[in-house]
């Protein structure tokens, strides 16, 4: 049996990690959307 506290911490860590990755990906996506919408050519 796993203690409740350990399971809560594990899930919170998992979710925090995934949220961080998703937010990072969103910022990058937003950057490229801005570039595409303003029509800047590299």
């Amino acid at each position: 049996m796993v203690k409740l506290e350990e399971e809560v911490v594990r899930r919170q860590r998992d979710r925090a990690r995934i949220t961080a990755w998703l937010l990072g990906a969103f910022v990058v996506l937003l950057f490229f959307i801005t570039i595409a919408k303003t029509g800047i050519n590299w």
């Binding site: 049996m1 998992d14 996506l29």
Partner: protein
């Protein structure tokens, strides 16, 4: 997952796998594919990142619909074998969290679509979410055996949204693609509901086989298949697609009609003897993938 020493798992923060399961990833595949085909079939393509974002938004909106559907139908899901192990009926997740996740994801997908593509695509995406949740899930599904006929429109939006995201306007071909999915939905879902009829009956959902019986359902499946075949072949004689799509559509629809005729001829009432229905259901999924793939192939190879 490790066993947990507690009486109320929903009191825990939800596991990310359960949050992902709320979005019905398997259903999402077909939605994303049809949206992508709508976008790729358009005469003009947006920059890659904007096209990617449009498809991402369609996927997120589909996920939001799945979450809101499961939030609303938690009691119904608990009564059906097929759905009883989902996160909410199984008690692995708090119901309020599912609602917040669904609303948040839906709003985010619409805002991002508006930002990345155009307001018409965002409005269509919002309409598709509202149609699926309010018109289909809340209103039609528990009330009428015609639920999936009208509700099928919700699943028919993605190719239209994909096209509008690319071009900013409506056209005849994406409207026909909308019509194809609309007419495809009844035979697809009625074939499924034939062999899981007892589940729907137990949950009190008035699916056609539960309310009208197998014979009427088989007739309806056949009628809708004929209408689908007409709509699916139509883009070719109308000059909206070329022969690659036309020949594929004729072959696929011939197969669909033959399988539907076998369903019509079947007299079985027990799921174990419903092979024609199971085959039609499986074929209908392949059918839609290949047909929409043909729309794109026709656009890119023939023009």
């Amino acid at each position: 997952m490790p066993a947990i020493e507690m009486s109320n798992p929903a009191a825990l923060p939800a596991d990310w796998r359960d949050i992902l399961a709320l979005t019905k990833p398997r259903v999402m595949r077909l939605v994303v594919f049809s949206g992508l085909c709508g976008l790729l079939a358009a005469p003009e393509l947006p920059p890659l990142v904007l096209g990617f974002t449009a498809i991402l938004c369609i996927a997120l909106a589909a996920g939001a619909c799945g979450a809101l559907n499961q939030w609303y139908e938690v009691e119904l899901d608990a009564k059906m074998r097929r759905t009883a192990k989902r996160p909410l009926p199984a008690g692995r997740m708090d119901r309020g969290a599912a609602l917040h996740f669904g609303v948040g994801l839906g709003a985010f997908s619409v805002l991002l679509m508006g930002l990345a593509t155009n307001l018409l695509a965002a409005a269509l995406l919002a309409a598709s979410i509202l149609f699926y949740v309010l018109i289909y899930t809340v209103w039609l599904k528990p009330r009428t055996p015609q639920n999936i006929v009208i509700g099928g429109a919700a699943g028919a939006f993605p190719p239209l949204i994909g096209w509008v995201a690319a071009t900013g306007h409506f056209a005849a071909l994406p409207l026909l693609l909308f019509g194809i999915i609309f007419l495809w939905t009844p035979p697809h879902f009625w074939a499924l509901s034939m062999f899981v009829r007892s589940d729907y009956a137990a949950a009190g959902i008035p699916m056609l086989p539960v309310v009208a019986g197998p014979r009427t359902t088989r007739k309806q499946i056949f009628v809708y298949t004929l209408l689908l075949a007409i709509a699916a072949v139509a883009p070719w004689p109308l000059g909206l697609t070329g022969p690659i799509y036309g020949v594929t559509a004729i072959g696929l629809n011939l197969g669909f009609v033959i399988l539907a005729a076998r369903v019509l001829a079947n007299r079985a009432t027990e799921p174990a003897q419903m092979d024609p229905e199971k085959k039609l259901f499986a074929y209908s999924i392949v059918y839609l993938f290949v047909l929409f793939g043909a729309v794109v192939a026709d656009r890119w190879l023939a023009w």
